[in-house]
């Protein structure tokens, strides 16, 4: 039996609704140099989760990192259909928010990005089902077992 879902409200950095399994990043990631938009995988050789599939997951990270090209990589991933379903961050991250805003303008597809208080972010477990609704409402169901 899965446990009771928890809900929280994030600050909307990029709007939208989405659902997916949480991917908790153990270290911050720069999408540029860190994700290949051709296949949606994590390609940063220095990252402990190297080769993990990012596409379709709800990416959970305390902070983003590095390159200013990450906006482009996110927009290209949205175009190619390899983007994460949503991104939950511990801080207000401009570079990813702008990538999502541009992708929405160009392709009409949203990748919601929410800023979530760090203690609530830390409580999300890898593989949990995350549902992102209107106005930053997040429902999290822990995986079974």
């Amino acid at each position: 039996m899965s446990s009771q879902p928890t809900t929280l409200r994030g600050r909307v950095l990029a709007p939208g609704e989405a659902a997916g399994a949480a991917l908790i990043l153990q270290e911050p990631l720069s999408l540029w140099g860190g994700m290949d938009p051709a296949n949606g995988r994590l390609i940063d050789a220095h990252h402990p989760q190297h080769d993990t599939l990012i596409a379709g997951r709800v990416l959970v990270m305390a902070s983003a990192r590095g390159s200013s090209s990450s906006s482009s990589v996110l927009a290209e991933a949205v175009r190619a259909g390899t983007a994460p379903a949503a991104i939950l961050l511990g801080e207000a991250e401009l570079i990813l928010a702008i990538g999502a805003a541009v992708a929405e303008e160009l392709y009409g597809r949203q990748v919601p990005i929410l800023q979530v208080p760090e203690e609530q972010l830390a409580a999300i477990v890898d593989g949990a089902q995350v549902l992102i609704g209107e106005e930053g409402m997040v429902t999290i169901t822990k995986p079974e077992g």
Binding site: P37, R65, S68, S72, A75, E76, R79, A97, A101, L106
Partner: protein
């Protein structure tokens, strides 16, 4: 502007700037005097789609705007070793940004271009992580960490959200970092110390503004450049202070403000030595196929140093020695006869792009050696390179010997 009376592309740019203000929690926009745009580097069809949408209605940048590297060396197209048709979209994107009125500097080191370099205290919108950290830390001009799209949106709007590092109160150091007593005294006098220290700084500080205390005063711009570029690779560093070297850190108190630091940490030699070793992911017995220096783009002083180190030697047969720089610095190198001297010695000079984003290194098996922590950090993921990190002197000696050469250094201390 927002309503679109200035053109559809301009209104789009303004919408992005307003979105940025919301994300950053700014309640007003402030004018900027210049911009540096990274969006000209091709990252797939989306980047061309964006440029086309932005250009609708005859959009022009409102402030002097320099351009970051693109995919292609427009001056030396013969250095492209990929499929020719793969260069076309990269070239088209570079042209699209020139058509918006941006200056075709095509360098990741706009601070080395006299006309593009801001003065202390100037409010600007710069993209490119190493340029951002240099702008804030070494020049003392003010920019946030702008990325692709928002960089050119700010250039078109001529305005940025009044938030973050544009504001004096956000620029104060919060984390005090000192070298441990076990760090060899000779280490801070070696060039290769600074990129490695940058990797550690990025990991320790992340987005927190750190103050480095106890380094030799008056560090050169090239050392600070290497430090900042590495820190912006391993962490979201947009500003650091180095007491006695950077303009907002004439003293520890000036850098941190009154009162005790919020946090104080020591960097020990073992951490530096481990970071140094991690920058090499290849076995040093691998055959050496190339040496890549100039990431970020080499300064005139670095080009001169390369010529001096090389002397009358040449790279060994089968080893490519490549230096990346900006076309502006290349022009100044040409005037001084340095470029011709390097080319005669068998050195390839790359401009407008970088050897870890474009297929410009000659294809082949073996290791690539670099003196850049940023190159060492990104090249394995970007171009699948086997990397050996070393000092510039080791890079040149290795290129000449045709195998990885290690020189005695303070990194040897156990």
């Amino acid at each position: 502007m927002l309503a679109g009376d200035a053109g559809r592309g301009t209104a789009f740019a303004m919408r992005l700037v307003v979105r940025a203000a919301e994300v950053l929690g700014a309640d007003r926009l402030i004018p900027i005097s210049r911009a540096h745009v990274d969006a000209c580097l091709y990252h797939g069809q989306a980047t061309l789609d964006f440029a086309a949408r932005l250009a609708e209605g005859g959009t022009r940048v409102a402030v002097p705007t320099s351009l970051n590297v693109g995919l292609v060396d427009l001056l030396h197209p013969e250095l492209w070793h990929g499929a020719p048709q793969e260069a076309d979209p990269g070239r088209r994107l570079m042209e699209a940004y020139r058509a918006l009125g941006c200056r075709p500097t095509f360098t990741c080191a706009p601070y080395q271009v006299v006309e593009a370099r801001p003065a202390f205290g100037e409010q600007v919108a710069w993209a490119e992580s190493n340029a951002i950290v240099f702008c804030n830390s070494v020049i003392g001009a003010r920019t946030n960490r702008y990325g692709d799209f928002i960089d050119v949106a700010c250039a078109v709007a001529g305005r940025v959200p009044d938030a973050g590092l544009h504001r004096t109160d956000a620029r104060r150091g919060r984390l005090l970092l000192r070298l441990g007593p076990d760090v060899p005294a000779a280490l801070p006098h070696e060039d290769s110390f600074y990129p490695v220290l940058g990797i550690v700084l990025g990991r320790r500080a992340g987005p927190t503004i750190a103050v480095l205390d106890g380094l030799p005063p008056g560090l050169s711009e090239d050392r600070l450049k290497a430090l900042g570029a590495a820190a912006a690779s391993s962490g979201s560093v947009a500003l650091f202070h180095a007491v006695g070297s950077t303009p907002e850190a004439s003293s520890l108190k000036a850098a941190m403000g009154p009162g005790p630091p919020e946090a104080m940490e020591t960097i020990v030699f073992a951490e530096l030595r481990a970071a140094w070793a991690e920058l090499t992911n290849a076995g040093e017995a691998l055959p050496l196929r190339a040496v890549s220096i100039g990431t970020p783009h080499a300064s005139l002083a670095e080009i001169e140093a390369l010529a001096v180190l090389l002397g009358s030697s040449r790279p060994a047969a089968g080893v490519e020695l490549l230096v990346s720089t900006g076309r502006d610095v290349l022009e100044r190198s040409e005037e001084r006869g340095l470029a011709a001297r390097l080319r005669r010695a068998g050195v390839e000079i790359l401009v407008d792009t970088c050897s870890y984003i474009a297929p410009v290194l000659r294809p082949g098996a073996g290791a690539v050696m670099t003196d850049s922590a940023k190159w060492a950090y990104y090249a394995p993921g970007n171009i699948g390179a086997d990397v050996v990190f070393g000092s510039t002197a080791e890079c040149v000696a290795s290129a000449v010997a045709g195998r990885v050469v290690r020189l005695r250094s303070a990194w040897d201390a156990a």
